[in-house]
């Protein structure tokens, strides 16, 4: 089932000395990936002034849901860096946990209109964890800053 998220999405910061970590919770695996995308937007720039003028489609596969999460976040970092694309709404369908299709709605960065918040090099596998407790899915991700 598809899940859609728009920032702000609640998350906890992991107190990592060198880098930056987040823990977030969602209602389903698709929702977890959508929420992670929205949190990443919030970390990289102020999503408020981003208009939903353009879309980007993402399709990914990986060996595990954890690898899929790292690949997903690094794909978003790539879109931010190379195409200067800023997303606002993230719609994800993560079937079986190892395949993901997503639609991002947002626009290309415009100095003056958009406010960058910080740079992240990559999502890492360090202490990476996706876990399910009853109906809630959580993930812990550490980014290299």
């Amino acid at each position: 089932m598809k899940a859609r998220r728009t920032p702000p999405v609640p998350y906890e910061m992991v107190d990592h000395t060198g880098d930056l970590g987040v823990v977030l919770t969602a209602e389903s695996l698709s929702d977890l990936f959508a929420a992670a995308g929205a949190v990443l937007a919030d970390l990289l720039y102020d999503p408020a002034p981003v208009a939903e003028r353009e879309t980007r489609e993402v399709v990914l596969e990986a060996a595990s849901s954890e690898e899929l999460l790292v690949r997903w976040l690094n794909e978003l970092l790539y879109l931010r860096e190379v195409g200067e694309f800023l997303w606002k709404t993230v719609e994800v369908e993560a079937g079986e946990g190892t395949r993901l299709t997503a639609t991002l709605r947002g626009e290309v960065f415009r100095p003056g209109k958009h406010v960058p918040r910080g740079g992240l090099k990559a999502a890492t596998y360090h202490q990476l964890r996706i876990f399910r407790e009853r109906d809630a899915w959580s993930a812990r991700i550490i980014f290299d800053v």
């Binding site: 000395t17 990559a122 890492t124 596998y125």
Partner: protein, 484 residues
């Protein structure tokens, strides 16, 4: 998920502590620190990471950590580990995402006093000419793929033949600004796409260009040999391989996770994923990593050209008058084959330095000829509000740490904690009151990079000096900084 366990820590001497052994460690961990530093890190993830690295196959002598050690991902930041080519491994996590992140120091013929009235203009000019911040690029330097592959093959040498600097610059760069064996064909299209317009850019995070001056000289003869005079203006450039390097690391971490499973390598942390040095996966990573490292050398070379251009424009001087020349350029995130003496025998080893600097002794063939009697220069940036150090490598470093020493101050506060501490403070004014002009792409970086977020680099350097793994030469104080 890995857990922190209480590790046995034994003091070996004034500046060294042994971590472990615990079951699974093939060699002990050795951490260079003073007593207070060790007290602060005793229950931390960083010591656990030192122990984790010691689990990897083919590790030689010890899993080492320098006094600026802090929690990284996989390897600790400040970690050094050498592996045997026969049964050892190479790990992208032991290099980091920013392949060949490093530091370059320029000296000048200018005095601190003469520059003072022009510092604001100079910082403004540097900020204009050197793109900084996330995804920063210059519109006038976008390479096609063919040219970019040449950069990956030739490193700083490509820049010199393209008019960015002179041949003398290359003599004062680690590996001459080009690591042999680079495989541009092993770099993905995606990594090439990220690198195409990022040559000559700073990026974000802790990267910077800093104009400063020689405030104190600790070793007159060595300082003279390095061309550093009291009160002379210097420039430090700290940046790496930008998005190209991040992408190479990311591409290979996926591959190495599969390789570690294929070769049945037990990993205490997935981010330590690795492949045997002799395997196809290992060789491919080393080729791609060398290409990314060469991109970083080229990046610092182009930034140097922009620094020279800015000084000339703003001060209305000729290159001869500004006299900006390269003292040295070091990598602090790298894996390289080097020869080291182990138990009396010379062995070729793959040395990983992640947040650590090579510190080769006087008379070593890889120490540049002009510094042969002094030792290889080592450049240790501090935080933007205090000072940085120039050191030289020593025989003891060559004996004990595979010729390695620290790389910086080392973070003490998380970025969240630093932001909390900086909230509401007039940071630019605070620095200006201390005689430092600062310009940054965003306020967030300044908040995360406040002095209080870092250990005092003087303490870190002092431990390395007392341990004998490098020798203090000069202290540099900032006058103007641009940040990503």
């Amino acid at each position: 998920m890995e857990e922190t366990q209480q590790l046995p820590v034994t003091r070996l001497d004034e500046c060294r502590f042994q971590v472990g052994p615990v079951p699974g460690m093939r060699v002990p961990g050795i951490v260079y620190a003073d007593e207070e530093m060790m007290r602060d890190m005793i229950d931390s993830m960083s010591l656990q990471q030192v122990a984790n690295v010691a689990h990897l196959p083919g590790i030689v002598r010890a899993s080492l950590a320098m006094p600026d050690i802090h929690w990284g991902y996989g390897f600790p930041i400040g970690g050094v580990a050498a592996f045997d080519p026969e049964d050892g491994v190479v790990s992208p996590g032991g290099v980091g995402y920013d392949i060949n992140c490093g530091v370059r120091l320029l000296r000048s013929g200018l005095s601190r006093e003469s520059l003072k009235p022009r510092m604001k203009d100079l910082v403004e000019g540097l900020f204009r000419n050197i793109p900084s911040g996330v995804g920063s690029h210059r519109k006038d330097l976008r390479l096609d793929v063919r040219e970019l592959r040449r950069v990956l093959e030739r490193g700083a040498g490509w820049c010199v033949s393209s008019g960015y600097g002179g041949a003398a610059d290359l003599d004062c760069i680690e590996e001459g600004g080009c690591i042999a064996g680079a495989g541009p064909d092993l770099v993905s299209d995606r990594a090439l796409e990220r690198g195409r317009n990022q040559l000559g850019t700073l990026g974000s995070g802790n990267h910077f260009v800093e104009v400063g001056y020689v405030a104190e000289i600790h070793d007159e003869a060595a300082a003279r040999g390095l061309g550093l005079e009291k009160d002379a203006v210097t420039v430090i450039i700290h940046t790496g391989s930008r998005g190209l390097g991040h992408q190479v690391c990311d591409d290979f971490i996926g591959e190495m996770i599969r390789a570690a499973a294929k070769y049945e390598i037990h990993l205490p942390d997935r981010q330590l994923c690795c492949a045997p040095l002799g395997s196809e996966e290992g060789r491919r990573y080393l080729g791609a990593m060398a290409a990314a490292a060469n991109f970083a050398f080229a990046n610092r070379q182009v930034v140097t050209a922009y620094v020279r251009q800015t000084f000339e424009e703003v001060l209305g001087m000729s290159p001869r008058e500004t006299g900006l020349s390269v003292v040295y350029d070091v990598c602090h995130n790298i894996a390289k084959f080097e020869e080291h003496r182990v138990a009396g025998k010379i062995r070729r080893l793959c040395v990983h330095r992640k947040g650590a600097t090579r510190a080769f002794p006087p008379h070593h063939p890889d120490t540049p000829a002009i510094y042969r009697s002094i030792g290889q220069p080592v450049l240790i940036p501090g935080d933007m509000g205090r000072y940085s150090y120039v050191l030289v490598g020593t025989e003891k470093a060559y004996e004990e740490t595979f010729g390695s020493t620290c790389h910086g101050a080392g973070r003490m506060l998380s970025r969240t904690a630093a932001r909390k501490l900086a909230r509401g403070r007039p940071l630019v004014r605070e620095l200006e009151d201390r005689g430092i002009v600062v310009r940054s792409e965003g306020r967030m970086t300044l908040m995360e990079e406040i002095s209080e977020a870092y250990k005092d680099v003087a303490r870190v350097v002092d431990v390395c000096h007392r341990a004998g793994i490098s020798k203090k030469v000069a202290r540099l104080v900032p006058l103007g900084v641009i940040k990503g």
